[in-house]
Subunit: 155 residues, 2 copies
């Protein structure tokens, strides 16, 4: 089962936007993510609904942050991107009336819920500003590896 990378991608974009002067167009962002502009709009729409970004049409338009990185957590973006399913594996429902199946699903659900609770509580404690700080630290160590050097994101 393949991973959904939308969360990771959006975090990536948001941090770049923070360092970017002016609005970023869907096309610029798409180039950064190796994807295409329509997909970017589709995914960013979720973030816009929650106010984490705003978009403007027309000349000079594009996407801007709706609030500082310090006021967005991983959990916020996770929810905005719309991923109710954390786990790739889950309970079956082949014979809902079967008490064996019920016992199995109870055991699994308990374990999954506990792990999900831990994951989301962790997500809630990490702000995008924390990640940006980590980026700065990496940048200081490896200044040569600047991000997207040729893409106009860090002139």
């Amino acid at each position: 089962m393949r991973h959904d990378s939308r969360l990771s991608r959006m975090l990536h974009v948001l941090i770049h936007m923070d360092r970017h002067e002016g609005a970023a167009t869907s096309e610029t962002i798409a180039a950064m993510l190796n994807t295409n502009p329509v997909v970017v709009r589709r995914t960013m729409a979720g973030l816009r609904e929650k106010g984490y970004v705003s978009s403007e049409k027309g000349h000079g338009g594009g996407w801007r942050l709706g609030r500082p990185l310090s006021e967005m957590t991983l959990l916020d973006i996770y929810e905005a991107v719309g991923e109710p399913a954390v786990f790739a594996v889950g309970p079956a429902c082949d014979q809902p009336a079967c008490l064996v199946e019920q016992a199995v699903n109870a055991a699994l659900s308990e374990a999954f819920e506990e792990a999900e609770k831990l994951l989301l509580s962790r997500f809630g404690k990490v702000t995008l500003a924390d990640i940006a700080r980590d980026f700065d630290a990496r940048m200081a160590r490896y200044p040569a590896s600047a991000a997207h050097a040729g893409a106009g994101w860090h002139s």
Copy 2:
């Protein structure tokens, strides 16, 4: 993203097998899971490799437990069924050289690894016998809801 229900299904089957006299054919199992025999063989093959079940061809053949339920944990079956991916969401790899992406993925991986560790450690502590006991308790409470009453599994 859809759930993979193979783990749940296999647990279901194994517990039924424990209560079942003689070998269970792929066809019987398939009926129980609302699927078909070839899919059953495919999935059970993983369990056979690890010795949790054995199979016999020919008349009177089918599947049998390879060891008592008390000697199989959720973790064992999880691994046998071959699901390296616990999570439905994961890191992107669009610009591996980008330090922002690296910082994002580091933050995500840390959280995911911690949650996975918790989940698997929990899995390791639950045996199938534990689940079977829970089934017995449910059975005592709701004797009418017997499992797969018409399918020949609990005559």
